[in-house]
């Protein structure tokens, strides 16, 4: 009975440690991405997250409105440069990838006309093999 109790305590403490560790990791990653979503950029009010392993790709669909400057920022793990993102139009033309620019953690996009886009997000496996990717989308206040 005593052994079972000790085992239960160890499991509980280990789970607590793992949970706290995971939370600290998430906070660190979120801070890497939110630091690029400061004034004059306004968040779209959503926080995108995906758990990726190996070569898995997360995708999401978004409409960018004409006459607006947007910012995409993405992060995974404890460091910048772990995430590759690619922006396609609805005809699957590649509009931009940060892979051409050292996996830049953010990039701005000026849309002259409204475009429906697909964004693919992937881990750079040479830096990180698995983990949560966080992405934020923001738009610039007019006249700023």
């Amino acid at each position: 009975m005593r052994n079972i109790n000790i085992t239960a305590i160890i499991i509980f403490l280990s789970a607590l440690f793992t949970f706290n560790n995971a939370n600290a990791q998430a906070d660190q990653t979120i801070s890497l991405v939110t630091k690029y979503m400061k004034y004059p950029f306004i968040s779209d009010g959503q926080q995108y997250k995906a758990l990726l392993n190996g070569d898995e790709i997360a995708e999401f669909h978004i409409t960018f409105f004409g006459g607006t400057v947007y910012r995409l920022a993405a992060a995974a793990g404890n460091d910048e440069g772990n995430v590759v993102f690619r922006v396609y139009d609805k005809q699957r033309n590649l509009l931009f990838t940060n892979a051409d620019y050292n996996n830049s953690p953010y990039w701005d996009f000026k849309f002259t006309s409204t475009v429906d886009c697909l964004i693919e997000i992937q881990l750079d496996n040479s830096n990180l093999s698995s983990g949560f990717v966080y992405m934020l989308v923001g738009f610039k206040q007019e006249g700023k």
Partner: protein
């Protein structure tokens, strides 16, 4: 059209189930690891062997998904911020129109989480409009109501005392308010996703989206403006996205079913709008970390189509707020 939407909805559900599988696998790995840790000191050999074979099996299952395209946490489809519509409205130099926003006293009749979550969305869109027009005293009242709704829904993140103090300090500073309020909604969105309450997040998005769409469609009564017409037509894809976000909860309650059905019905009317797209080579300015996207979209929307959409949006908005 309806068939297409529901095929897409099915894909969404499958992807969400796949994500859950990965979560379950990782959860199993954690538990197995913890059990392994707790049993250190005796009888290790057989445990290590079974753990190895289990891990191998799990790795094989993960490998089988390695090239799969997965969705982003059930929120794989983005909905435009109500601030974007509010900014467009303000740009048209129209006078402030109180009839475009939902009266605060409506909220007294909201007793269930469904209505309260929708209200959190449409009052957020109203707050964006009020902020744009420097309606500070009203904006304070709307934010206070938003805070109460968030408390009722047990959303602790994004609407806490610290945020309220920041709002108080920045009243009158439009830019700061936009920034603070948008971040509040982002934090609430994250909190709901982290706590497996995504359906509330979906309702908040639905409320905000429909209130913004209501505003911009109603403004066409005051002004015949091509940019406003285009912007209405351009909501075709975001509306599809919203339906996909709501779809996993279609059977959760009769209210969810009714709301989704109404939005699908509205999507039929949007389907008749023609959208022409022409790709142009983007210009990349690495020194500014900026891409200029020059592709062009043309929206072709008739007066009749606009009127039908306007009527239906009003009907859905009334269903939401009353």
């Amino acid at each position: 059209m309806q068939k297409n939407i529901f095929i897409s909805l099915q894909n969404v559900k499958t992807s969400i189930q796949m994500n859950k599988k990965i979560y379950n696998l990782l959860f199993s790995v954690s538990i197995i690891s913890l059990l392994g840790l707790s049993s250190c000191g005796g009888g290790n050999q057989s445990n290590v062997t079974s753990e190895d074979s289990l891990e191998q099996s799990i790795e094989e299952q993960i490998d089988s998904n390695a090239t799969a395209v997965i969705m982003m946490n059930g929120a794989l489809f983005s909905i435009p911020s109500p601030y974007q519509i509010a900014m467009l409205v303000k740009k048209k130099n129209l006078d402030f129109n109180e009839e475009l926003i939902t009266p605060l006293d409506y909220a007294t009749s909201y007793t269930d989480y469904f209505k309260k979550a929708l209200a959190l969305g449409f009052y957020g869109a109203d707050l964006a409009y009020l902020t744009m027009y420097d309606q500070t005293p009203k904006a304070v009242k709307y934010f206070s109501k938003i805070k109460l709704l968030a408390q009722d829904l047990d959303i602790s993140s994004g609407f806490d005392k610290e945020i309220m103090e920041r709002i108080d300090k920045n009243m009158g500073n439009k830019d700061s308010l936009m920034y603070i309020v948008s971040n509040s909604y982002r934090k609430a969105d994250d909190f709901l996703k982290e706590n497996d309450r995504q359906e509330l997040g979906a309702l908040i998005l639905a409320g905000g989206f429909m209130e913004s769409l209501y505003m911009v469609t109603q403004l066409t009564n005051e002004i015949k403006d091509q940019e406003l017409f285009y912007r209405i037509g351009e909501q075709k894809k975001p509306l599809d996205n919203l339906i996909k976000i709501l779809s996993p909860y279609y059977d959760k309650s009769p209210q969810f079913t009714e709301l989704t059905d109404k939005l699908v019905d509205l999507a039929y009317d949007f389907e008749n709008i023609k959208i022409k797209y022409k790709y142009e080579q983007p210009e990349i300015l690495p020194e500014k970390k900026l891409a200029i996207i020059k592709s062009q979209t043309e929206v072709i929307i008739t007066e009749e189509q606009l009127q039908k959409i306007k009527d239906k949006v009003k009907e859905i908005r009334n269903f939401m707020v009353k």
